[in-house]
Symmetry: C2
Subunit: 311 residues, 2 copies
């Protein structure tokens, strides 16, 4: 960056030969977060993390952020500083700089709009790149964010172990964008379609099916779910499969690859980043939809989508 | 652009050797606009134009926009379409494409956040580049947006000619970003500091003084003001000088240049773009502030700044 906040625009230099990536995401009070269950740092972290995840989902490298912040008159300076601190905290491990912004009064609640710019020196991996015969894989663990939201909303702290509660609420409040994982996976020739799992597996895999004009089969007993999810389901009366397939905001990466390459990719990703990669299904010829197969081999119905507090 | 709305991020190619410019601006209901006095197209136009003006103020070329849109549940589809139509209408003459966005429910009113990316193949002109001895110049005409806002707020339609009312309200509702003017001026070696006049001449010239560590003298009888401004001042009980110095949102360009080059720049800009360029003052050694000189040669006080509806 040559020039940052303070002049009419930020001025940056994109690496020679690199494509420019850009994404923007809104985080709105009482839609995406509540002050009663999130700290200013949590809110800032998440506003940055959801954008980092979008760049990761292309296999790119995040570089520069711009922040639009609409604030009620009642906003406290320390809360504004906390939100910025959370954004910087999420950005710092990836060397992302906040290079510009605008702040305004808001007659309603808080609205935070982060725009993130990144670079990609190879071929960005799109949702339209899945092929019949591909394996379907996902990084990390699914459903924890939805379970964490349920715990925050229903107040189940007394019926669940501290370790499990911390795992699921951290997954919801402080999601870790899979930036190194995206960069590594996006550089592997065997990886075809790649996206982030922000709206829930069912919704996001349906995007891949539609964009790639393929079908997908997912084996429910292969979904990577943690023990904390089972504990939370018991304590909260939730459903592990529903959280893992319909719950959103896990910000794991969802990808398809040449089937013979799946094991090598999982081993390589583990070595490169320490993160798990799990085969959960397969791509078939299409166009069509996602089918869900239970442990007995029977097709079952899954309700897609997840809900914000409102909207 | 390789890929736009629909994948995780937009993918673009910056021209080889060009710097990347980025700016973001919020437009908030009942802060920056009211539905009672602006159409959806007006609002969309302005949300894009204020960003175009920031790129123009660097002497750059605007290329790609991303739009964050928070909407109340009561928002009508035709209003959303109108806002987007206004954004595209403002963007089209400059070949700017909307390449990405995010939409959310808003428990409050409308919040529109446009982020605009541009390119610059030369040396971006900054606020810090003014030098003692420079002439101070401004494009076009000052104060019309503030007069237009006053007319819209005070409802003076019966006391002012239709032509004057149209001129000032159009300046407020449909500001024209000085994009070709910025590109032309930014390519002239004699131009030093360059910025857009969005917060009012007094506030913006003070930015140049602070960033460049210089002083400035402005001759009030040289300020470019249109006859419509005089008519509006009479009809509304306003003050031409106050509007021209403290009124914001004119989105003219404010610049300093080598004093001997001012006339040639004015002639060149007129030939290249049809726009007027007026010498309004001079830069002195500093650091210091702006002084205002009336027609009799006396220093007078000017109240800086302008007010949004709120905030």
């Amino acid at each position: 960056m040559t020039t940052g906040i303070g002049d009419d625009t930020a001025v940056m230099t994109v690496a020679p030969g690199a494509a420019l990536l850009a994404t923007t995401d809104l985080v709105v009070e009482d839609v995406h977060f509540r002050w009663s269950s999130a700290s200013p740092r949590d809110i800032g972290w998440k506003a940055m993390a959801v954008n980092l995840s979008d760049i990761a989902a292309m296999g790119g490298v995040p570089r520069w952020a711009l922040v639009g912040l609409a604030l009620p008159e009642s906003a406290r300076v320390e809360d504004v500083e906390g939100v910025y601190a959370g954004m910087r905290e999420a950005a710092r491990p990836h060397n992302v700089l906040i290079v510009g912004g605008d702040t305004s009064m808001s007659p309603g609640g808080w609205v935070i709009n982060v725009t993130l710019l990144g670079e990609h020196t190879g071929t960005p991996r799109l949702r339209s790149m899945a092929r019949a015969g591909d394996a379907v894989l996902v990084t990390g663990s699914l459903g924890r964010s939805a379970a964490g939201l349920a715990a925050l909303e229903r107040g189940a702290a007394s019926r669940i172990s501290r370790a499990a509660l911390e795992e699921i609420t951290a997954a919801h409040l402080r999601p870790r964008a899979r930036v190194p994982e995206g960069a590594w996976l996006g550089a592997q020739a065997a990886v075809h379609a790649l996206m982030d799992c922000s709206d829930g597996l069912a919704t996001d895999l349906a995007h891949i099916c539609r964009e790639s004009r393929v079908t997908a089969r997912v084996f429910l007993d292969r979904l990577p779910v943690s023990a904390a999810l089972g504990e939370a389901a018991c304590a909260l009366g939730g459903d592990v499969i529903q959280w893992a397939t319909g719950g959103g905001e896990d910000y794991e990466l969802l990808l398809t690859c040449e089937p013979d390459a799946a094991n090598a990719l999982a081993e390589g990703l583990q070595r490169a980043t320490g993160s798990r990669l799990t085969v959960i299904g397969e791509i078939g010829s299409g166009p069509g939809a996602v089918s869900w197969i239970d442990a007995a081999g029977s097709a079952v119905a899954i309700r897609p989508g997840y809900e914000h507090f409102r909207g």
